[in-house]
């Protein structure tokens, strides 16, 4: 019998919980302070990319918006990222299906080969593709950049799709067949809705990677610049806070995409 008159038990004291908090703050600060500085510089009145903070202005954003080469580069980047993402996600979906559904000879090698583009250093992929495209006598330009981005976007898109497919309960598919659905309807009504958010997550990841890719792009681009290439080019000649403004915009959009991708990566509750 518990003694109802006994005093309430005091909670066990935690040992210095603030220590972990401080350590976390230091680690996060190390990671994110530089980014914070760039954001700060983008609204700084100073003409060169530096601190101290001399006053708040949004002029650099206006300047960046009016900058024709910068806008052309942004347009190129969006175009490249969009097409490469479609390419990567489409092929990733097909590859994920092949791996999920079928047993075939060389399956492990196939998976490894698909993941190689993100395992290999970008320099290697870039040089290899450059050599390949020139021997095919394919003119360098945005087309070759799209192909290059598509290649390393594929494994990025493949990952989340394959993981989700692995969680798909086979009984759902069987139930749909059983209730009269044909294979195409089963895919449309049951399987795709189950993996949809993973497909979206994979596509967002591929898009973000393509959008700020530099290494492979250096080897494959022609006269048209992508945004990261344009920024890189300017850093060596005229460093103005305009670049910081562009970086802040990219940062914001990327963060939104990454958060959206994360939110999408949970499977539907059964």
């Amino acid at each position: 019998m518990p003694d109802v008159s006994s005093p309430a038990i005091a909670p066990r004291p935690q040992r210095r919980p603030w220590l972990l908090g401080v350590w976390t703050a230091i680690a996060l600060g190390f990671l994110y302070l530089p980014i914070g500085v760039v954001v700060l510089m983008s609204v700084n009145q100073s003409r060169i990319l530096s601190l101290p903070f001399t006053g708040f202005t949004l002029d650099w954003y206006g300047l960046a918006l009016a900058d024709a080469p910068l806008r052309a580069a942004l347009g190129n980047s969006l175009k490249v990222a969009a097409i490469a993402t479609l390419f990567a996600t489409g092929l990733g979906l097909l590859a994920a299906f092949a791996i999920y559904r079928y047993q075939f000879w060389g399956k492990t090698a196939f998976r490894l080969a698909l993941n190689l583009p993100i395992l290999l250093p970008g320099v290697v992929t870039g040089v290899a593709m450059l050599a390949y495209f020139s021997s095919l006598e394919l003119g360098l330009g945005l087309g070759t950049v799209i192909l290059g981005h598509g290649v390393f976007g594929l494994p990025v898109a493949l990952g989340p799709i394959l993981t989700r497919l692995g969680q798909f309960p086979t009984a759902l598919e069987e139930a749909a067949y059983d209730l009269g659905a044909r294979p195409v309807q089963v895919f449309r009504d049951v399987l795709f809705p189950y993996i949809r958010s993973a497909v979206v997550a994979g596509a967002l990841l591929a898009f973000t990677l393509s959008f700020d890719e530099v290494v492979v792009t250096i080897f494959l681009t022609g006269r048209d610049n992508t945004l990261p290439m344009e920024i890189w080019g300017r850093l060596r000649t005229n460093i103005t806070p305009e670049i910081a403004a562009v970086a802040t915009v990219i940062l914001t959009v990327s963060s939104i995409l990454v958060v959206a991708s994360q939110r999408n990566s949970a499977p539907p509750s059964a």
Binding site: P169, L172, E174, A175, Y177, L179, G180, A181, S269
Partner: protein, 367 residues
């Protein structure tokens, strides 16, 4: 012709290859299910009962034999061509659709007009007493509710046969009984053919018109619950269904369907259900615990004195399990288990007589 049955399996075998070996999941199974029947496939895991169900549903195709539905060969037809629906063990409700959309799915696939779908779904929700759940998602439902939705979805397009794969096994014991009653009621109301897979003998006995007891991919016995309980065809079935006492003896005389069997020198009268074994061969006698009558050795007025078999017995153990008491007694023919109604404690010290009818004592082959 057996092919006139609603479902007919003709010498069907399903093989799995593992390593170099071939393993029969289902071996040479022939069975016929009639329209309106509640038919159970009963067996332990690995007995081939679920594979048999999947062969009827079209999820597996047999290596040998044919599957007939309504007299037509459907052996290689995919599931979506068969007028057969399944209630899965996991219910397999579509997580991204509401309850109403789940139930409507077979109708939507069949391109039923919108208004008709709505009306039928409303009726189905009412019939399964879940009218308020139409807008919920499956994960917001209890197990019992999910089970009802799965049943409603499988029944809404009026299949010829409903296949049920252990539909109650995921439920709590308390709801299971309730849903079991409902299941039987639904089957009576709709007069549909149910083929029901279970490992639970109580479920099979309570629900079925006929039961096929399966083991090692083969049908060991096919019959009504009464047949299977009272006249098991083999020692396996007798051991699998219910509790039973088994006695080893030698058959010494046969007259009609009655046999005399010598057990430890005592002659017992027993019933033959299959062709009589040769005289002087070893047999097993089976008698159910509740068919044994217990009387006090001193009680000579008892009605049990008219029963053919009588042995004196000493009580060694009694277990109180609520509705009945389970008693273990030592007799000249071996240890016997019996269940007795009544609340009065039975004491170990006294001596008893156990009696039973020849009718309740079945001669079975040794193994």
């Amino acid at each position: 012709m057996q092919t006139q049955s609603l479902v007919y399996l003709d010498r069907v075998s399903k093989l799995y290859r593992s390593g170099g070996a071939e393993i029969y999941a289902v071996r040479d199974v022939t069975l016929a299910v009639q329209a309106g029947e509640f038919f159970s496939l009963l067996g332990s895991s690995g007995s081939g009962k679920t594979t048999t169900l999947r062969l009827i549903g079209g999820f597996e195709q047999p290596e040998y034999g044919e599957v007939y539905l309504n007299g037509e060969v459907v052996t290689t037809q995919p599931p979506y061509c068969r007028p057969v629906h399944t209630v899965f063990q996991s219910y397999a409700l579509f997580p991204h659709l509401s309850v109403a959309e789940n139930i409507a799915y077979p109708l939507a696939i069949a391109r039923t007009p919108r208004e008709e779908i709505d009306a039928q779904v409303r009726d189905a929700l009412k019939m399964f007493q879940i009218p308020e759940l139409g807008d919920r998602r499956p994960h917001q439902l209890s197990g019992g509710q999910q089970q009802r939705v799965a049943l409603a979805r499988a029944l809404i397009s009026r299949p010829k046969v409903l296949l049920l794969d252990e539909p109650l096994s995921a439920l709590d014991a308390k709801i299971r009984d309730e849903v079991r009653q409902e299941l039987k009621a639904v089957q009576r109301q709709t007069n549909l053919t149910f083929i029901y897979v279970t490992h639970d003998q109580d479920e099979a006995l309570a629900l079925s018109d006929r039961i096929a007891v399966m083991d090692q991919g083969q049908v060991q016995q096919l019959g009504t619950p009464r047949d299977i309980y009272d006249a098991p065809a083999s020692l396996f079935v007798a051991q699998f269904i219910g509790k039973a006492n088994f006695l080893r003896g030698t058959i010494v005389d046969v007259a009609g369907d009655r046999a005399t069997v010598l057990v430890n020198g005592l002659a017992l009268q027993a019933r033959l259900s299959s062709p009589a074994p040769a005289l002087n061969t070893e047999v097993t006698l089976m008698v159910r615990p509740e068919r044994l009558r217990l009387s006090s050795a001193a009680d000579t007025q008892s009605s049990t004195h008219f029963l053919e078999n009588q042995v004196s017995a000493t009580l060694t153990q009694s277990t109180y399990i609520g509705a009945v008491q389970e008693l273990r007694l030592t007799t000249a023919v071996g240890d016997l288990l019996t269940t007795q109604l009544g609340q009065a404690p039975i004491h170990a010290s006294s001596s008893f007589t156990l009696s039973w009818q020849a009718e309740d004592c079945l001669v079975l082959p040794v193994d």
